[in-house]
């Protein structure tokens, strides 16, 4: 979506937002229909963050697209923090626990 962004101006930002939201909820929300482990959540959150940064570079400063990209970046960072808490909690336990 990011590469073919001509199809829609905001599509990449919306996609990044959705991916970040999934990464956030799928790791820790007890009612989530999708389940992710911490590495998966961190990976998807990282992808969402990269797309959001690219979008932020391309969007005009005060546009709706810029707001969506900022929101996506924000959610992706929150999801990364969430995954980091899980990683750190299991750090003494080692990689087998994660």
């Amino acid at each position: 979506v990011t590469v073919r962004r001509r199809a829609s101006e905001v599509a990449a930002s919306v996609a990044a937002l959705a991916v970040a939201l999934v990464a956030l909820l799928a790791l820790g929300w007890s009612g989530s229909p999708v389940r992710l482990h911490a590495p998966g959540a961190a990976l998807w959150a990282g992808i969402a963050a990269v797309v959001a940064v690219v979008e932020l570079q391309r969007a005009r400063g005060d546009s709706g697209r810029s707001f969506l990209a900022s929101a996506a970046l924000c959610l992706a960072l929150v999801a990364l923090v969430e995954a980091a808490i899980v990683f750190v909690s299991f750090a003494p336990c080692g990689s087998t626990c994660i």
Partner: protein
């Protein structure tokens, strides 16, 4: 900004040492405040390190046990939130902190693992210092940013440091206070310098709040309420507002709910057992609510104890085990049923507890209670202050709700958030009050050299003229009201009411009346709250009276008190008087002060019952059995004047002895407010029951550590 520009101008208009010093300080104020914060933080760190002894004292043995168990497992490279139960050759994992907020049970064992120590006092002390000292560092800058007051910025870290003694040894219960003290000024700073981009700063702070809430439930909920209000007020479109609210809410749930749940699910995958889904994600809610129902003396059998809540849940659902979700559902049903059947009892309890909570603020911060209503109702900047107050008041509501729903006991475990809110409000009110005075002082210095008339004419609004204005407004209000009343009596009433000037004066008067009513109400709540809390403490602690006929067993000793204090007894009471076959005792006012004690007597191992024939006229009585040589308490029971005394009922105490022990019977004052009590006593009887405890009394089992020499 105006304040600082004025300060620069002092140096330009006054080239003396003072003027130049003020201008220099104003130019480098940020650096100066940061340096000042650094000095205070260094002093604070040293002082906290020296004064905090027993940082784990605030945690009960169950919490400490959970942390130690988790430390052992983490050190053995096991999963977090787990203990290891070893029996013989087999061992099995068990979950820890099932009835608590999980965050600290993750972070403290991790800290212990990397620090290489299991000394909980040391760990919790440094955990507190690491969070609290940065607060001292940034507070001068933060408070100056919020209030523009150098006085408040200078005083703030010292006020923080001196008031931290309430929670510094509370284990982990200082977290809500810390969250309020850090996040509320940041919220006000964001509100003051608002730009739409600062939404992202709010989200970041919500994540920090979520981290705090993972250690203590809803620690930063008040901040989130204020942040949501700010977003709703300041963002331009509804779509943006809703998006902003959703982002803040998600950020607030990110660690406290999502990450903690993810850690538990991962832990379950490692140990191969579901320890997560049967239990709530934090500490039990309805369990604490049920305990709160028993705060006031009531005929429905609610007692403010864990045992009472467990029994109620068992009656509602015999299969409900503490602290499962099923247990919580059972108590929720009990609570809501009570609310439906006895709504006034529940609501009355909430109102009384809210009064006690309000009174605590007057007890902690009396000057804030005087200042805040006046500053919110008067002054040129009152609207700005009201806006700031509306943003932070959510934190107060959340803090107060904790005590209203559970118990308003003055302990950090319950009061931390409320205490932190009050402390921040106290610092904020100092800034609100000091700012106009500082503004005036700076402008005064600017005008040095001009003649007095010139100076006074050009001075900006300040407290002194403002107070004079208030006085004249009040005076005009009084005169105007008198004139209005005269008008009503002489002319048509409508003309007086329609007078706009009259209304303005009335408004000033009504504001003053409102401020006075708020202040008086809070101070009244303080005095009445202490009495209410004392009454609740009697109710929480007092034992049931026992039917005299049910006390059986071999007579060991009988002391008749109707003829006076028996021979061999020691008397420490304020006054003892024989009256109509009874002994009237007026105690000394100390809280648990000993009033009468029997001569010690060696008792063989077995089960014993002490029965006191008499009643409590005012205050309370503690009957205790003490190991005389060791001065250690074997068992005790409390009775208060509220108990249903009758000739056929006795105040009773039961205990078991494992070895021969030299025992004295002690009668002590039991006065929560350290007042004198009044008792009427007839006899004290000690019996030995051969078949163990026959009464419905809790029995203490006592093993002396030294042998008795006859």
């Amino acid at each position: 900004v105006q304040h600082r520009v004025s300060s620069y101008l002092v140096g330009e208009t006054d080239t003396g040492v003072l003027g130049r010093a003020i201008a220099l300080a104003a130019r480098h104020l940020t650096v100066l405040l940061l340096a000042y914060g650094l000095v205070v933080a260094a002093i604070g760190a040293v002082q906290l390190d020296r004064t905090i002894n027993g940082a784990a004292d605030g945690l009960n043995s169950e919490r400490q046990g959970g942390m130690f168990a988790s430390m052992d497992v983490v050190d053995a490279h096991g999963p977090p939130l787990t203990g290891l139960d070893s029996a013989g050759n087999s061992s099995s994992f068990y979950p820890v902190a099932l009835d608590d907020d999980r965050g600290t049970f993750i972070y403290i064992p991790l800290l212990a693992h990397y620090a290489g120590t299991h000394d909980l006092n040391v760990l919790l002390k440094w955990f507190f210092i690491c969070f609290f000292v940065p607060l001292l560092l940034v507070y001068p800058l933060l408070i100056y940013g919020v209030t523009d007051s150098v006085v408040a910025a200078g005083a703030a870290p010292w006020i923080l440091l001196s008031n931290s003694s309430f929670f510094r040894t509370s284990g982990i219960f200082w977290i809500p206070a810390w969250a309020n003290l850090l996040l509320l000024p940041l919220l006000l700073l964001i509100a003051k310098r608002w730009r739409p981009n600062l939404l992202w700063a709010l989200v970041a702070l919500a994540v920090l709040g979520s981290f705090a809430s993972s250690m203590r439930a809803n620690a930063a909920l008040g901040f989130v309420g204020g942040a949501i209000l700010l977003v709703l007020l300041r963002l331009p479109r509804w779509s943006l507002r809703l998006a902003g609210v959703a982002l803040i809410a998600l950020a607030y749930l990110s660690i406290s709910s999502f990450a903690i749940h993810a850690v538990q699910v991962q832990r379950d995958a490692v140990v191969g057992h579901d320890f997560t889904s049967p239990y709530p994600n934090g500490h039990p809610f309805w369990h604490n609510g049920y305990i709160g129902l028993g705060y006031l003396r009531n005929p429905y059998g609610f007692r403010p104890t864990d045992a009472g809540a467990l029994a109620a849940a068992h009656r509602q659902d015999p299969g409900a085990r503490f602290p499962t979700k099923r247990y919580e559902r059972a108590l929720r049903t009990v609570y809501l049923d009570t609310l439906e059947k006895h709504p006034w009892f529940v609501v009355h309890g909430w109102i009384v507890k809210a009064g006690v909570m309000l009174g605590l603020v007057a007890h902690w911060y009396p000057f804030a209670v005087l200042l805040v209503p006046l500053l919110l109702l008067f002054g040129a900047e009152r609207r700005q202050r009201r806006f700031q107050f509306s943003l932070v008041v959510f934190a107060g509501l959340v803090g107060a709700a904790t005590g209203v729903f559970t118990l308003p006991t003055e302990i950090p475990e319950i009061q931390s958030g409320w205490y932190g809110f009050g402390l921040f409000l106290w610092i904020l009110s100092i800034g609100w009050a000091a700012r106009p005075a500082e503004h005036w002082a700076v402008a005064y210095l600017r005008r040095r050299g001009a003649n007095r008339q010139e100076r006074l004419r050009q001075l900006p609004p300040s407290w002194a003229p403002a107070l004079t204005r208030v006085w004249w407004q009040v005076r005009r209000g009084v005169v105007g009201t008198r004139a209005g009343l005269r008008l009503v009596s002489t002319r048509a009433a409508t003309r007086a009411v329609e007078s706009a000037r009259g209304l303005r004066k009335l408004r000033t008067l009504s504001r003053l009346a409102l401020a006075a009513a708020v202040v008086a109400g809070v101070f009244l709540a303080n005095s009445s709250g202490r009495v209410t809390d004392a009454s609740a403490a009697y109710w929480a602690n007092e034992a049931n009276l026992v039917d005299a006929a049910s006390i059986q067993g071999t007579l060991v000793s009988r002391w008749q008190l109707d003829q006076g204090v028996p021979q061999g007894w020691h008397e420490f009471a304020r006054a003892v008087e024989r009256r109509e076959g009874e002994l009237l005792v007026r105690t000394r006012p100390s809280k648990y002060g000993l009033q009468l004690s029997s001569p010690p007597r060696v008792l063989e191992p077995g089960h014993y019952v002490v029965a006191v024939d008499g009643s409590v006229g005012a205050g309370g009585l503690q009957v205790a059995a003490a190991d005389a040589p060791l001065d250690a308490t074997v068992a005790y029971a409390f009775y208060s004047a509220h108990a249903p005394f009758a000739d056929s009922r006795r105040m009773a105490l039961s205990f078991d002895l494992a070895k021969p022990t030299r025992v004295s019977i002690l009668l002590s004052n039991f006065s929560v407010l350290a007042h004198s009590s009044t008792w009427t006593l007839r006899s004290v009887v000690l019996r030995r029951e051969p078949g163990g405890c026959q009464l419905n009394l809790p029995s203490a089992y006592y093993t002396p550590t030294t042998a008795v020499a006859e």
